[in-house]
């Protein structure tokens, strides 16, 4: 292995690592706020990428139907609750938010041919279609059992994951898709050819991480999330709604997931079930951070990316083995160094 190959591998590892880092951050965020180990995180990556691909192919993405169905279901549940409590004034808002908005979006998609839209609008539309699924899933699957144990929430996660995979196969089919590059620019650094798209992934990831930092440090909602993560009961006593915090963290997780999917879909082919493995690698990163520390999780994810890249060069058949074996020493180290706190 000469320097050039080492550099190329490093660049590849950091690019993938950046995506894993984003997902690791989302996982840590969701776990800290809601105690949910969010296995379906990867599905948002796949849904985001495949929705964009469908839009570019001029097809109506299946996620529209998912959005409509889940919106209607939530409207029914919320509507029934409002009726029972005789809060009639809330009903129009509930309907508008959960049924009206998705309908409007679906109508718009049917009306204009999405293939001819500029790329940025397509990306925006794809995000608009996929991101609301996050809070909707929280409302339907997690909010009713929000106070349950971590194990129950994990089981719910597995169920949601399996359901989403099935829905993905139904909507997008078994074959993968790739979206055209955002940019065709490439740079020559020494002998190494740098693709513009890989740089874009890096820059976008870093920008997103910075934006998240400011969100948590400077905005009231970010602070509310941090408060909930530190002490749920205390935060509630201070007037921070637990379900609002849950919704918000799921919205963030879904946006991060969908955005990552859109970022990497020009570099690699995305399948309906690709998300799981990508999410799992983010999860390894999050585990390195103990599902608590954002910087360590991000660093861990980058490490996973690098490890993956170099091991694919040296021993491609054992790549996954090497990456996932990493988790064992990390867990050993963590369980030996941290004080064990019995949960519940």
């Amino acid at each position: 292995m000469d320097l050039q190959i080492a550099l190329l591998l490093g660049q590849d590892g950091v690019t993938n690592g950046a995506i894993y880092a984003l997902l690791a951050l989302a996982l840590v965020l969701v776990f800290a706020v809601t105690r949910v180990i969010f296995i379906p995180q990867g599905e948002f990556v796949a849904f985001g990428a495949l929705t964009l691909a469908s839009l570019q192919a001029g097809r109506l993405p299946g996620t529209v139907w998912l959005l409509l169905a889940m919106g209607t279901l939530i409207a029914l549940i919320e509507g029934a609750a409002a009726l029972r409590k005789r809060h009639f004034r809330r009903i129009p808002l509930i309907l508008l938010l959960n049924c009206g908005a998705p309908l409007l979006l679906a109508g718009a998609l049917v009306a204009v041919s999405s293939a001819s839209l500029p790329l940025l609008v397509q990306v925006f539309l794809a995000l608009l279609l996929v991101v609301p699924l996050g809070p909707m899933i929280y409302r339907l699957a997690y909010q009713p059992v929000a106070e349950a144990s971590v194990l129950v929430l994990l089981i719910v996660s597995v169920a949601v994951h399996v359901t989403l995979i099935g829905i993905g196969l139904l909507f997008f089919g078994a074959e993968g898709s790739r979206t055209p590059s955002f940019t065709e620019v490439s740079f020559e650094v020494g002998d190494v050819l740098l693709q513009g798209q890989t740089l874009l992934v890096l820059v976008a990831s870093v920008l997103l991480i910075i934006a998240l930092y400011f969100f948590f440090e400077r905005t009231i909602y970010g602070k509310a999330l941090r408060a909930t993560a530190m002490n749920r009961t205390g935060a509630r006593l201070m007037g921070i709604s637990g379900s609002l915090a849950g919704m918000l963290s799921f919205t963030l997780a879904a946006s991060i997931g969908a955005f990552s999917g859109i970022l990497i879909s020009p570099i690699t082919t995305i399948y309906y079930d690709s998300g799981f493995l990508i999410g799992l690698k983010g999860f390894v990163g999050a585990i390195i951070g103990g599902l608590a520390s954002y910087p360590v999780a991000a660093a861990g994810a980058i490490l996973v990316g690098l490890l993956e890249s170099y091991s694919s060069f040296w021993a491609s058949a054992f790549k996954e083995v090497i990456v996932f074996t990493l988790i064992i020493p990390v867990l050993l180290w963590r369980s030996l160094t941290t004080r064990h706190v019995e949960e519940e």
């Binding site: 190959i5 190329l8 591998l9 590849d12 690019t15 993938n16 995506i19 099935g166 196969l169 089919g173 078994a174 074959e175 993968g176 898709s177 790739r178 050819l193 693709q195 990497i264 570099i267 690699t268 082919t269 399948y271 079930d273 690709s274 799981f276 493995l277 990508i278 993956e308 890249s309 170099y310 091991s311 694919s312 060069f313 040296w314 491609s316 058949a317 790549k319 996954e320």
Partner: protein
Amino acid sequence: MAGVDSPTMAGLAIAALFAGFIDAVVGGGGLIQIPALFNALPRELPATIFGTNKFSSVLGTSNAAWRYARRVQMPWRTTLPAAVAAFSCSYVGAMAVVWLPPAMLRPLILVMLIAAAAYTFWRRDFGAIHRPQHQGRREFAYALILGGAIGFYDGFFGPGTGSFLIFLFVRFFGFDFLHASAAAKVVNVATNLAALAFFIPHGHFLPMLALLMATCNVLGSFLGAHLALRHGSGFVRKTFFVRGEPLYPQIRARYLRLDLSRGSCGRTMPVCCGPVCSLCAPENRVGGTMKIKASTAGLVALLAAAFAANVQADINVGVTLSATGPAASLGIPEKNTVALLPTTIAGQKVNYIVLDDASDTTTAVKNTRKLIAENKVDVIIGSTITPNSLAMIDVVAEAGTPMIAMAASARIIEPMDAKRYWVFKTPQNDAQMATAIVEHMTNNNVRTVAYIGFADAYGEGWWNEFSKIAEVRKIQIVANERFNRADTSVTGQVLKILATKADAVLIGGAGTPAALPQKSLKEKGYKGIMYQTHGVANADFLRVCAKDCEGTFLPAGPVLVAAQLPDANPIKKAALEYVGKYEAAYGKGSVSTFGAHAWDASKLLANAVPEALKKAQPGTPEFRQALRDGLEKTRNLTAAHGVFNMSPQDHLGFDQRARVMVKVEGGSWKLVQ
């Protein structure tokens, strides 16, 4: 009662005992008895099993009803109209079995079970206090409607009637558990009598077994009713829900568990499962809510068996393929093709029972067993991938059922032995395809080759075949790399290949994932020749790979370039027929070579069935034997992928005509002359 040995009898007797007990206490004993009967007597008609079951349970139920009636003040004003309505509707229901497909009911019962569970989950004071709700006319009307509805259900399908009745009496009439059980018993007797009135005259009845089971059932129900009466409503709840813990929250949890777990008895003799567990060992929580899947499987099995019996004289073709999971891109076109297969062969109706094995070996084996045991299929087509097909060989050989695999590896039919005697396949062997590639390489002066393949059976299989043949032809293999189907990057492997400066690269992957190494190689400036395998021969691969695949070579079945074949080639007509049919149904450009393997399997069948029909009736072992012999005698049969010439040693029978070299040119497949 020929064919029922004493262990089976003993097992059925115990099942009947438990069923009687459960029936007397909370109802739903049929959910134990029917699966037990189905398991013990796989050869009987479902109607006979239902009849026998009904006879056994009617005695048990009447005994319990009588005992209840003596001890509890029976709410006759509600119960009688319900019973009358139930009687007439149950008879109608039993008749409806004949002309309604039971598969329609499957989703319905699931929804009902979940609804019942959900209801009990929310309702806290379930069945604790006896508080009759409706008065006079209203109660009468309710009784008629509910009795009628449940009666129809019982005659039609049956399982769960007892517990549904109790549930409805609690829900709509405000009865407590004890009164509800008593009333339910009376109505249940009525429905059972009605069903018997239908089954016995039609001869669906095994007298001796029915008597034995009835005796046990009565014993069980005697025990159950006795305990229930002695300990009152509390016992009924406690039996199922609690061990001295606060009652109400538990009721929700356990009642839910109870309803959902029952069907799980379907797969084995119900010695300890579902509600029985909660009875005999309260600590044993095996019958948990996780059994939903198992219970569905049990129901599906029951329905499938009931359905299969109605169509016994036809030829039954079992299909198991990978329509979901990693091999979905191969399995889906196959599934689509099965829908296009002829529904009659030589004047005989053909039924296709299609199951999905989710690309999973265990499921494939399970499907095979189910198709053989429950659907009594004459031949099995499947599975899509090699590991599944290999695992199925033992099962089909044991049952003496011919199998036609749609997976590529030669190991499925080689080396020929007593088990592979039953196994045939339609796709070309990997070796045939690998030879074509190596031939092309030698013709194009390729001296060094790098290989990169899937890190699974497909990539490994190709590596074995290819490296063997390449060695013989003096082609040097300079790299052997692996990647995963779901990988997002193969930079490492590609860099290593680039460093070897190989003349050509062979990518051993299937479907669109095989595009990733090729795109990476192009991106990094690789200039050599690239080869793919026939696993990529579908339109999606071209779509994903786009311009990076220009100039790629691959071996494929002639169906891929059917229109470009010379007219003299007999395969052209057969292949075009398939392409035309498929594209007419699923749209232009939708055809792939994988579906054609299913098409060819049916061609083989159509060729062998007429002879086999002369020798024996479908559904018999003789017919399956004759069908197998017929398949082996296939000569000069032109199909979409080639010309079959089978022999006792070769259960594929393809020659050089079954493969062509294809080049990707201008975004489409081009035949290399």
